[in-house]
């Protein structure tokens, strides 16, 4: 087990201009921590992981595992194990041989290999499949073999590259919990790449959000959700996404849906000198109130019933243009299409303000 540290680590692909797939990444992962790297495709999250694995070169900066600088070390000397998105099981080997391959390469005695493989197989419910070839297994079983191959190694760091993306939705939820539980049990430092923000939020001790090769924010899931550092993180984390619009400032608030939404004093102070801001509010942070009250007006265009609750989607007037907003409401008594809702923020602290050009968060309450 070990901590991991990226210091200004950069991967630049030669082209003109060079593409900086990972740009000066500074990131520390604690011993035994479960860190999730999340971002849209092309954000550099897989590249960052592969740099740590030694499968991708580090063009600038350095990476260390434990106290050792591994920047130029080949993968086999890094004491890491990796679970691939495709699983990458050796097709000509049985499940047991797949899991024991790394130990065999290290000339571990046969009986030790056998007992370690058996132990991991018990943990993953693979006992009955040890003599099968990967092609005779289901998708979920293959995924577990890939996990088993990593566990048997007893490495100092686990690397996982979208290990659940080839499973169906139900199995994914189940396996998600299993992996998180297994990691807690083993206590091995784990770096987990995903594009799925639900996986990121539910599995990670901390989550690092990347976009365009640049680290946007690294924080605990709750903090990421409640205090996104910039408008990218705000829009990326959360499903349905945060309502995020550029709105004009006027007096002591912002003009939205024909109404001035009042802002706290700290927010106004932070926005001083600007004539507009990026205004963000999560769908569940908007409350419908009686029509007679003051609030922003929304024309209901679509209602998505989810059972326990419902998503009401409609348009809100922003500087003369209709903008799409989503509101999460109680599943019963949803408004009808064409109705007008009057909405107010549930709490002034749930209103997020970002700089209109840099996208940085303006206040930190």
């Amino acid at each position: 087990m070990a901590e991991v540290e990226y210091r200004a680590a950069t991967r630049a692909y030669p082209s003109s201009p060079p593409v900086r797939a990972v740009d000066s990444l500074d990131l520390e992962i604690g011993d035994g921590e479960f860190l999730v790297l999340v971002g849209p495709s092309g954000s550099g999250k897989s590249t960052a992981l592969r740099m740590l694995a030694g499968l991708e070169e580090v063009d600038e900066g350095s990476i260390s595992i434990g106290a050792t600088d591994v920047t130029g070390t080949p993968p086999k000397s890094r004491d890491i194990a990796m679970v691939f998105q495709s699983y990458a099981l050796y097709p000509h080997m049985t499940v047991g041989e797949n899991m024991g391959f790394a130990l065999k390469l290290r000339k571990t005695p046969k009986d030790v290999i056998r007992s370690k493989v058996a132990e991991a197989a018990d943990m993953l419910d693979l006992r009955d499949f040890l003599d099968r070839k990967p092609r005779a297994l289901s998708g979920g079983q293959r995924q577990r073999v890939a996990m088993g191959r990593a566990i048997v190694r007893d490495p100092s760091v686990f690397l996982m590259d979208e290990p659940l993306s080839n499973l169906d939705a139900k199995l994914r939820v189940e396996t998600r919990a299993n992996i998180a539980g297994l990691q807690r049990e083993l206590g091995t430092t784990t770096i987990y790449v995903t594009h799925d923000q639900v996986e990121a939020m539910t599995m990670g001790d901390r989550v690092a959000v990347l976009d365009g090769g640049v680290l946007q924010q690294v924080a605990a899931p709750r903090e990421l959700y409640d205090k996104p550092a910039n408008s990218f993180v705000a829009g990326f984390i959360g499903s349905p996404a945060m309502n995020l619009e550029r709105v004009p400032l006027r007096g002591n608030g912002v003009v939205l849906g024909g109404h001035v939404v009042e802002l706290p004093r700290a927010a106004l102070a932070a926005a001083e000198g600007l004539d507009e801001v990026m205004f963000g509010v999560r769908p569940e942070a908007l409350l419908p109130v009686a029509d007679s009250e003051q609030g922003m007006r929304m024309n209901v265009e679509l209602v998505e019933e989810l059972g326990a609750d419902a998503l009401v989607i409609g348009s809100v007037d922003v500087s003369g243009d209709p903008k799409r907003f989503t509101v999460r409401t109680d599943g019963r008594g949803t408004p009808a299409i064409g109705e007008t809702l009057t909405l107010v923020p549930r709490d002034s602290e749930e209103v997020h303000l970002f700089h209109p050009s840099t996208g940085q968060r303006l206040v930190s309450y």
Partner: protein, 279 residues
């Protein structure tokens, strides 16, 4: 959609003709090989009047068939073995590494396939003669000379076939092996080659058959001690008579190794060994 009746007829007739086209020569071969010599020297009989196993016995003494057989086996196995061995390393490098001159190399390898073999006959002959004079290594008329000759035919195509086969094996497998602690050679040997067995089987058969049936170079590059079967079969035709029945029996026997080779390797040819590797 149902096919019209006339189409079914045309197809049926067409396929029957094609089948006859393939089967009749085989039939003639088999029946002729069990006729006595007198029956194959005048008018052709579709149905043999006398059946005898004698040609299968006599063919070994009429010409030195056993010697030629050994020559062919040595040369063909040698060519196939070297072809596979060299092509494996070349194809792995082309498939997995990006290096200066990679595309030039690929193209050069392919371009050798664009010239007719006879163009190489004279240059190769002269090279062998010169090498022989300068170093005393006898290439011309020797097994090793013939193996090298056949390598020049089969190697380029073998490399191409294996490159496309390696390309179909996900790089994830190599990377998983690296992380598991294997070096490049171990990865090739323990992971990539086992996954590429069907491709390797195809290349071996191809290289073996190229050498087994070749006549042009064999007729120039062999001497009495290194004559291969394809050339040796001609010797059944002497000045006084042609032993057609023995030609046919020998031809059938000569085909057996190729058929056996096919049968042994065919399960690799049809089986997708990479199934289950990814996803």
């Amino acid at each position: 959609m149902r096919e019209p009746r006339w189409f079914q007829w045309v197809r049926g007739v067409g396929l029957c003709l094609l089948t006859l086209f393939t089967v009749i020569p085989l039939y003639v071969m088999v029946t002729t090989s069990v006729k006595p010599l007198s029956d194959v020297q005048d008018t052709f009989q579709w149905w043999p009047s006398v059946l005898t196993p004698q040609p299968y016995v006599d063919m070994w003494s009429t010409v030195r068939l056993a010697d030629y057989f050994v020559n062919s086996v040595v040369v063909s196995l040698g060519a196939a073995a070297f072809s596979v061995l060299i092509a494996l390393f070349a194809a792995y490098a082309i498939s997995r590494y990006r290096f200066r001159g990679r595309d030039v190399f690929r193209f050069t390898v392919l371009s050798t396939q664009m010239f007719p073999g006879i163009l190489f006959l004279l240059p190769l002959y002269l090279i062998y003669a010169t090498v022989g004079q300068a170093t005393g290594i006898v290439l011309q008329g020797s097994h090793i000379g013939l193996i090298i000759t056949y390598l020049t035919f089969s190697l380029p195509f073998s490399i191409w076939m294996l490159v496309s086969y390696f390309d179909s094996i996900p790089v994830d497998l190599d990377e998983a092996a690296f992380i598991d602690g294997a070096g490049p050679v171990q990865t090739l040997w323990r992971v990539v080659i086992p996954a590429a067995k069907p491709g390797i089987a195809a290349v071996s058969i191809y290289a073996f058959m190229t050498a087994w049936g070749e006549t042009l170079f064999a007729s120039i590059m062999t001497d009495a001690d290194s004559t291969t079967l394809a050339i040796g079969l001609r010797e059944y035709s002497t000045q006084s008579t042609v032993y057609w029945n023995e030609v046919m029996s020998a031809s059938l026997v000569v085909s057996i190794p190729v058929v056996l080779g096919f049968l042994a390797l065919q399960r690799y040819l049809v089986q997708g060994l990479t199934a289950g590797a990814v996803k």
